[in-house]
Symmetry: C3
Amino acid sequence: MPAYATNMRLKFPIVALVLEIITIILFGMFVVYDDGKHHGHGHDDHDDHSNKTEHKKEPMDLYPMFQDVHVMIFIGFGFLMTFLKRYGFSSVGINLLLAAFGLQWGLLMQGIWHLEDGKIKVDIFKIINADFSTATVLISFGAVLGKTSPVQLLIMTILEITIFSINEHLVATVLEANDVGASMIIHAYGAYFGLAVARVLYRPGLRNGHENDGSVYHSDLFAMIGTVFLWMFWPSFNSAIADPGYTQLTAVINTYLSLASCVLSAYAISSLVEHKGKLDMVHIQNATLAGGVAVGTCADMNIGPFGAMLIGLVAGIISTLGFKFLTPILASNLGIQDTCGVHNLHGMPGILGGLAGIVAVALGKKKVSGKAEMQAAALASSLGFAVVGGAVTGFIMKLPFWGQPPDQNCFDDSIYWEVPAEEDENEESLAHADHSKNKAEV
Amino acid sequence: MPAYATNMRLKFPIVALVLEIITIILFGMFVVYDDGKHHGHGHDDHDDHSNKTEHKKEPMDLYPMFQDVHVMIFIGFGFLMTFLKRYGFSSVGINLLLAAFGLQWGLLMQGIWHLEDGKIKVDIFKIINADFSTATVLISFGAVLGKTSPVQLLIMTILEITIFSINEHLVATVLEANDVGASMIIHAYGAYFGLAVARVLYRPGLRNGHENDGSVYHSDLFAMIGTVFLWMFWPSFNSAIADPGYTQLTAVINTYLSLASCVLSAYAISSLVEHKGKLDMVHIQNATLAGGVAVGTCADMNIGPFGAMLIGLVAGIISTLGFKFLTPILASNLGIQDTCGVHNLHGMPGILGGLAGIVAVALGKKKVSGKAEMQAAALASSLGFAVVGGAVTGFIMKLPFWGQPPDQNCFDDSIYWEVPAEEDENEESLAHADHSKNKAEV
Amino acid sequence: MPAYATNMRLKFPIVALVLEIITIILFGMFVVYDDGKHHGHGHDDHDDHSNKTEHKKEPMDLYPMFQDVHVMIFIGFGFLMTFLKRYGFSSVGINLLLAAFGLQWGLLMQGIWHLEDGKIKVDIFKIINADFSTATVLISFGAVLGKTSPVQLLIMTILEITIFSINEHLVATVLEANDVGASMIIHAYGAYFGLAVARVLYRPGLRNGHENDGSVYHSDLFAMIGTVFLWMFWPSFNSAIADPGYTQLTAVINTYLSLASCVLSAYAISSLVEHKGKLDMVHIQNATLAGGVAVGTCADMNIGPFGAMLIGLVAGIISTLGFKFLTPILASNLGIQDTCGVHNLHGMPGILGGLAGIVAVALGKKKVSGKAEMQAAALASSLGFAVVGGAVTGFIMKLPFWGQPPDQNCFDDSIYWEVPAEEDENEESLAHADHSKNKAEV
């Protein structure tokens, strides 16, 4: 094992400030406000996740949708990861740090492909996509949660978003595949990227678990804040960049129904596989969202409310079963320690979404020759970039000078945060209490 | 007392999956996307809670309002009930389960009355109403919180929403009564339905309370998340299905002002009736919302900002007094154990709203003969369906094989949930601490 | 020290009810719904924070923006202050009380300057401004958090909003200064008003701190709910009353980027100045928001994305340094005990925003002679009204019969709230602990 240098005092501030200053300089060179003078080229904007053109009317039309997505990124992902008993500060706090940097970086990386007169013209559509690009990082963050330093994670942010933007451009513009809700290019990509990183950063010392790798009662409730906000606003995530009007409405309805159906199957399977038929919070916090992931690719297609609900039903089942049976196997047999189980929430449901998209296109009324093949290529491309990109990123993150925490300090905020002295106090008072009780018994 | 069979392992998964599959089949038969080709019949849609026609412009116009209502249903109701010290998982988790199933069932039950070419055409307006229909169940859930099994509650969901849809149709289409914010058809109905169920499920064993039937410091803070989100978005709840334009604006302003005024009276009365003039969290969490309930029926009427504030003022007073003086009497004298005090937040304020609506219509400028009588009939109908429907539902829920918890396991997540070993750990660490201390002393 | 009479039983209910009833009467006399018949005078509305006219189209256009601001006021400010270990009820609860009364009072005080036919016509624009006016009080609340009674705070609310409305009118209508995001008239004003009050209410007895003037692990997580909601919706705060269209888009983009940039610098400096390079939750909860404050005045100006990010970068640095080095000096040398450090989050960044506005106007393309001077006068006016108004208000609040808590009961909910028995248990165990310690010492 490398010698650990987890004191961030110089490392972290320098990396963070240098990255931000470089970013500001790049913004100074390339980024301007949208002035509304590019509607002729409007088409370019909208290839990001869809090959249909959006008939934008007012610059602020998409703003409420943007705010819903914004809440998913910062509250949803941030609090979903607070389930760990002693890692809440890092979950919400580092989530904020990575997303705040990631959205700036994503705006640049995605914008490069859509320059107008050599400039990136920022509008609501572009900041929605910038938020989207950070989602890939936050998903991967879940796989390595508790085992990485802020510096390592900033490095992952840069690399993952850069590679994401290449794959996104390939999928949307070159292959012209549909992925309006990004099952493939965000969820599957983010999950397998993170799993590849986790594999490279495998810790044999955690083979038998870690006392802090678990929840307490209130940390599970904080996590439910994240779950419920993700669940509620997912229809916005899947429809934000869909064609306005009835296509967007279709994306909302499909996601709304898929999620509702998914809740029932996730609860049913959780009870079925758990001791005495009890519900497991890990399943409820995560598998109830799989329906949103899985319906993403074909959210704006005419799959019928019935089709959307079937996708949600299946997603809830495989996701819950994955948490129960697959995650332990990945950890013990493949050396993939997936802290949040992103493989079950984003990985498998993301692939399911990609496959559903292929089927939907193949069975679709308006047959387009080769369309199904393009969808398949998009899924393969997303998985390929994820695994290779994640592995390379993992090796860079493994370099010994990024302040990675030693095994015993994993899943513990106190290594990177000033933590109030609560615990010690409690144990002390409890110990004393017990002590005095013993005394009283004498 | 029946022999308890609280192991949900087969019961719950089977009920949940069978219900979901039946629902999916019904959706396959009857539910299609709105294609915008029914504006001629648009009128029908809007009789749901209002007898005025909506001039819909764009399919997504109501989407931000829908999301506000969505947050009230899933975060608002869910977290409001987390005030119990050991029942947070069930409060948020079962709330999610019931609402996720209820919105699907509500979409069907409400849609039956508005078929177009034999189909239910889903649009934003209909999913707002589907969310509304679940609110009745979540209100009733509050009355029986901690004393019922997930299976019992799923049964309540089906029956309560089915009966709600009948009463709603009667009130809105047959009686053509106004109830834009649903004081009568949601709040009063949901409250008295739940109280009737609670009466039938009366538990003499809890006559003297239960150690877990109370809050702890942090559980009261979690509950405030629910309270504040309900409070903030209530103007959306009361105006979502109002006529667009200035009528909708009126509904927003009346609700905004009624709630603000209600906060002052709720705080004042709480301090007045409490020991040493201290504020009671139960009152703050609930009575501050009574203004939203009470202004519901006449939210879109020209009652004047001044009228809305008077309604809120009165609602805050009666709600707080209800919690302090009426709830204990209901429990001890009438055998109605109302866990969350829904009678004070939804019952009495709902009736107040119905009465305010009668007065507002009677004094209204544009006199319509018989209108006031129709409003009164709507209130009576809502109460009648609630009490009878709730009683019948209660008897069905009382059947001994739905896994109802025994008295000693009430208000405790651990009977239906895997709960982290926090407590034990503390005792353990306490033991360790003590042990080591003894060692040290030796 | 005055004799303390902290029993609120009569004092608080009477003050609260009398204030509300007077307010309702004033609403009855002066407030009506907007009927859309004043577009000719529409200009008046929009002088509130901007001297440009808004081309209002539909009465509900601004509603989603209003709800974002609403969330910032009630969830954002309310939960941000829950970081104190034993003061969460008061933070969220009194925040709700003050904001609920303040928005009614603000609607009257701001409306006086824009009467139409002797009436205040309420529309979404006016309720957004009413919410804004409460922000000044909630900022000042942060400075005196834990050391004042509900009655004292209601008095502060009336006086602060009344004075705010005068300064706002002077700045917007007389000086015609730009302050779309209100860096000067809300943030700087609210901060220095609160600091002046805190100075007058200086408590020598707290010179060496107070055991409850600190956080515990979960209270810091509750505070992050407030932080993240403020952070996410700040673009709405800064753009809500901007000219619609591309000007509003500019305000959104500038705020979005300034906040993102600010996060990086706040984290970097926090790590740089803290023991072992660890992050400090106080900095993360507050300094990450300074970018939103500082970009407020020039949010709708053409400062370029690059300019907005620079402002955010600087704001994050000075805010974090302020928490680390300036707050202790203010307390020890100037007798200003600033509980939440509002000087660092709202005070200095507010002034920075005002200065940035002066520079932006001076360097602006369309030169307007004297414009920069007007901006400077607006800043001076805001600071002057704040300090003088705050001092006067402080002396009124200091009168001995408002139930101010004694030093030992500061930062403790239990003096004004019924607190669940959890505490007693702790105290008991602590007592035991102490007891046993004594025993051990013997």
